[in-house]
């Protein structure tokens, strides 16, 4: 899909989500333009992971609307309830997004290469010969050439996460979602994953990243959102956000993190 710069990739408006009586998202608005890297930060339980999971329908919103590249995934009807588009359209819209999880979630019974080939072959119906060069190229990109036939259990956490990134990219998504991609890693392994993500950002991949890595947010993000208690407390360009936060809460949080 050809996208001109600044074209809107994702718009969320008035997002509400509750688990039982627990209101996790209390009306979130955000937009992500093409090529933009949005970093979402905030304390545990602030709703940031839930917000990310609402984007690709791993969680369903209770109210608000979600628009992907100008097309609605969910809208709120007159009764105030969120309504999703039909199954076929929903699948099509969701296929434009890839996701990387905190726990990697690689398929343990498949080799690295099989993990990458699985969805292109069995979901898109592509031929193995067509996907193979793409997969090899992606593995080279994440620095794992030569590990094609390893099983995930034979790799370090950092390597597994890089495979997970390559697996998501193999479906050629327009938007990449990252849910705390380095939180399950030893400190010395987070660097290699962040490096891969920075390279991706440099290639103008549109990314939404929930993270605790302030250095990454500061260096690689084009926009930062600070969430707490289901609200967006503050947002802005990383430079201004990190050097001169307006809100007292943001300042306190950043002090703890840095």
């Amino acid at each position: 899909m050809a996208n001109t710069e600044n074209e809107l990739m994702l718009r969320m408006h008035g997002i509400k989500k509750a688990f039982g009586d627990n209101e996790v998202l209390k009306g979130i608005d955000l937009t992500v333009a093409c090529g933009e890297v949005l970093a979402i930060i905030g304390p545990s339980g602030s709703g940031k992971s839930t917000l990310l999971r609402c984007i690709n329908r791993l969680e369903e919103i209770d109210g608000g609307s979600i628009e992907i590249e100008g097309e609605f995934l969910a809208v709120t009807n007159e009764a105030g309830e969120a309504e999703y588009v039909g199954a076929k359209k929903s699948r099509e819209l969701l296929s434009r997004m890839g996701m990387v999880f905190q726990q990697f979630n690689l398929f343990p019974h498949m080799t690295v290469l099989e993990n990458l080939l699985e969805a292109p072959i069995h979901v898109k119906g592509l031929k193995r010969e067509e996907v193979l060069p793409v997969a090899q190229e992606l593995l080279a990109k994440v620095g794992l050439t030569g590990r094609e036939n390893s099983y995930p259990s034979e790799l370090s956490g950092g390597q597994q996460q890089r495979v997970a990134i390559a697996r998501a990219l193999a479906m050629k998504p327009d938007i990449m979602l990252f849910d705390e991609p380095t939180s399950a890693l030893d400190p010395e392994l987070t660097g290699e994953v962040l490096k891969t993500m920075k390279e991706l950002a440099a290639e103008r991949m549109t990314m939404v990243v929930v993270t605790h890595e302030m250095a990454f947010a500061r260096e690689a993000a084009s926009h930062v959102i600070f969430m707490e208690g289901g609200h967006i407390v503050e947002q802005g360009e990383p430079q201004a956000f990190f050097t001169n936060p307006r809100e007292e809460r943001t300042r306190a949080f950043l002090q703890n993190m840095l």
Binding site: L94, G98, F101, Q103, N105, P108, A119, Y151, A168
Partner: protein
Amino acid sequence: MDKLLDTVLQMLEGSQITLEIFCVTLVLALPLGMLVALGRLSPVRPLSRLLELYIWLMRGTPLMLQLLFVYFALPMVGIRLPDIVAALLAFTLNYAAYFAEIFRAGISSVPKGQYEAAKTLGMSYPLTMRRIIFPQVFRIVLPPVSNETINLVKDTSLVYILAMNDLLRVARTIVQREFDMTPFFIAAVFYLVMTAALTWGFKKLEAHYGKY
């Protein structure tokens, strides 16, 4: 020597019934158990509860009683089945219940993240189950399924109460006729050979699927 050979030949014939019940039960009960497991895990409450009741009945009563029920009680309500079919019905229903619980535990032990990863890659539910979940379940359930399968070899001997000439019944008939205990030893060897073959086969499978 001729007498021994004759005994062994008769018992080989008896072991055909044993093997037939074993193989057919396995071929029917494994897929049925998988369906029951999926039904147990389904969000459709009445279906899940009904299957829970079925599993409770099958695991809560002796297989011997279930055999007698199919063989003697069903004809009273007008359902008459050939001996072998009655035996296979009872065995399949009983073993499917055990397999269902093994599969249910296996499916439940695959982390939720596997379903989510598959979903974000655009995989449908059937595709996810076939390509991602079942292969992992298969590895998890191999040891308990191996156990149940070995139990099944020995449980087949229960059909002797239905007057079917399986391995054990043939042995007992010869023992009673000849006042010679040898057939019991031969029967033991037959069962041991069968369970040894299974143990070896499952060991190979576990080694094959243990590579990751």
